[in-house]
Amino acid sequence: MTPFNKQEQMIAVASRFLEDGAMAAVGTGAPCAAAMLAQKMHAPNLVMMFEAGGVAPVLPTMPISVGDSRTYYKGLLASTMREVMACVARGMVDYCFLGGAQIDAYGNLNSTQIGGDWEHPKVRLPGSGGANDLGSHCWKILVLTPHDKRRFVEKLDFLTTPGYLTGPGARERAGLPAGSGPYKVITDLCVMDYDPDTCRMRVEALHPGVTLEQVHENTGFELAVREDLDRTKLPTEEELRRLRTEVDPMGYIIGRG
């Protein structure tokens, strides 16, 4: 078995959730690497969209900006933010990848501020960017994030991007599109999905060598566990080879693992 790092594992696991023919709104970094890996493994017709307007590129290198020219290199469409956000709004985008400083049990995300109040935050963060737009409209939200207690919190300091809000039916009551919302959370410890009855996060599969206790210790809210709790499949030789030689040969993303 080839040794691998946490970042490589997260990217490999995330890539397996993206099926051929789907459309995915991605950003820079690990989500972009996961989408590229999926294209090279099992989903050659997965379409990558970038919120600034780039659609279906053949990425020559990792983009540094969601708007840089790599995001439509040999692409099918160099469009506008309106084009991409309108696709998202009318229900044509299957997946998006999001992250944040904090996430709660319902998959709500905070990327706006930590501590203080809104006008006087202790730490001001970037804000929504396109995250709220994607999280409000995409059918399935994937979150890629390191797993620790500071991130997985009982209560967010600010709810930037909607997950399931307060639970079943809350998105629809708020006016968000029915049937859209959080799908999976992939961390360096495990994969989580959401209980359809409660809309709360639950552990679906543990990464190799990780215990449930470890997951609970690193989670700041009560986390359910699926009855059919599984083990994450190791990154395959093929996944690692393509990730290292074709997706991120310079190690910009996987090098940080």
Binding site: G53, S65, G67, D68, A78, G127, L159, L165, G175
Partner: protein, 338 residues
């Protein structure tokens, strides 16, 4: 329509299309030569207190020379549309040029990290804020460009982002479901960098458009910088390529490498080394001001800045990077560069 929620964030601009129409009624439509220097354009069209919007995408196809000139001239108390504002925001925050900000994305520099100077400025207590999203700010430009007071959308619903925005959430008269209304945003000035324009302000750009075609129509005044001036005959040869028309534009400035250190699609890639040096300088506020003095306040114009940043040799390297032309093999002789 029943109002379900009123956003707590302030509106920094007037969304009334009739007030905007009164302005647009007087905006010149004549096809006149608007070629001028960046210094003249900023002197004439950007005033203390104006609300400004930067085209492009933070570090992609930005009108860097105009942003520099705003800083160099010490413009203050501006309003700023923070629509994925990255390097543009770094320039304006270095001069503490704005005191109110519609936020979609600030402080963050995408894959490059977070800007300490933008954070200091935003946490100083001197900047009034209102929360939006990238699409939300786009819909606001779109409403303005269409001459309507708002555009309905579903971003922000159910979240603090919506609660602290200036949106009103109403019951949709057709579906009965909650829907957010994004009020028109008419910036006083937009600065947009393009590949080609004629002297009248008919402009073309390549690659993604981000929000620029809409922003140009929403803004009351537009300062255009262009990589090169092309003859009007070229525009007339194929008017389908005109993405920004003359009647939206007030100033045309010829600024080669005008998006530097940002990316310009198909021409040059972003200068990550310079952007890293800029970011590093921000860690200490005093050192940062020295850096900004050196590169901006003490340079007389954008060309002098380009010279300081490595001039044509560096620009060629960035051109090669953009076109994915491989670097020459490393020389074994340290003295010898190609």
């Amino acid at each position: 329509m029943k109002i379900l929620q009123e956003g707590l964030g302030p509106l920094f601009t007037d969304p009334d299309p009739d007030h905007a129409r009164a302005f647009f009624r007087t905006k010149p439509r004549a096809v006149t030569n608007k070629l001028m220097t960046v210094a003249e354009a900023v002197e004439r069209f950007v005033h203390d207190g104006d609300y400004i919007a930067s085209g492009g995408f933070g570090g992609v196809r930005i009108a860097t020379a105009v942003l520099h000139e705003i800083l160099r001239r010490g413009r203050k108390n501006l309003g700023f549309s923070g629509h994925t504002a990255t390097h543009d925001n770094q320039i304006l925050s270095a001069g503490e040029c704005f005191d109110r900000c519609d936020i979609a994305y600030i402080i963050g520099l995408e894959a490059r990290g977070l800007s300490p100077q933008c954070r200091r400025h935003m946490e100083s207590g001197k900047v009034k804020i209102c929360e939006w999203t990238n699409a939300g700010l786009y819909w606001r430009y779109q409403a303005a460009a269409l001459g309507v007071p708002f555009i309905p959308g579903r971003s922000g619903l159910g979240t603090d982002t919506g609660k602290y925005s200036g949106c009103r959430t109403v019951e949709c008269p057709y579906t009965g479901k909650p829907v957010a209304l994004f009020p028109a945003l008419y910036p006083d000035v937009a600065m947009i960098h393009v590949h080609e324009a004629d002297v009248f302000g008919n402009a073309r750009f390549s690659g993604i458009g981000i929000a620029d075609a809409t922003l140009a129509r929403a803004a009351k005044r537009v300062i255009l910088t262009t990589e090169k001036i092309i003859p009007n005959e070229d525009i007339r040869q194929d008017p389908s390529l005109t993405k920004i028309p003359w009647f939206t534009v007030d100033a045309v400035c010829e600024v080669p490498y005008g998006s530097y250190p940002g990316n310009m699609p198909y021409l040059y890639y972003s200068d990550e080394e310079h952007l890293r040096a800029w970011l590093n300088s921000e860690r200490d506020p005093v050192e940062h001001q020295k850096f900004v003095d050196k590169y901006i306040r003490n340079t007389k114009d954008f060309n002098e800045y380009l010279q300081l940043c490595g001039g044509i040799e560096r620009m060629l390297e960035l051109e090669h990077m953009e076109r994915l032309i491989p670097s020459p093999p490393a020389s074994t002789d340290a003295e010898e560069t190609y």
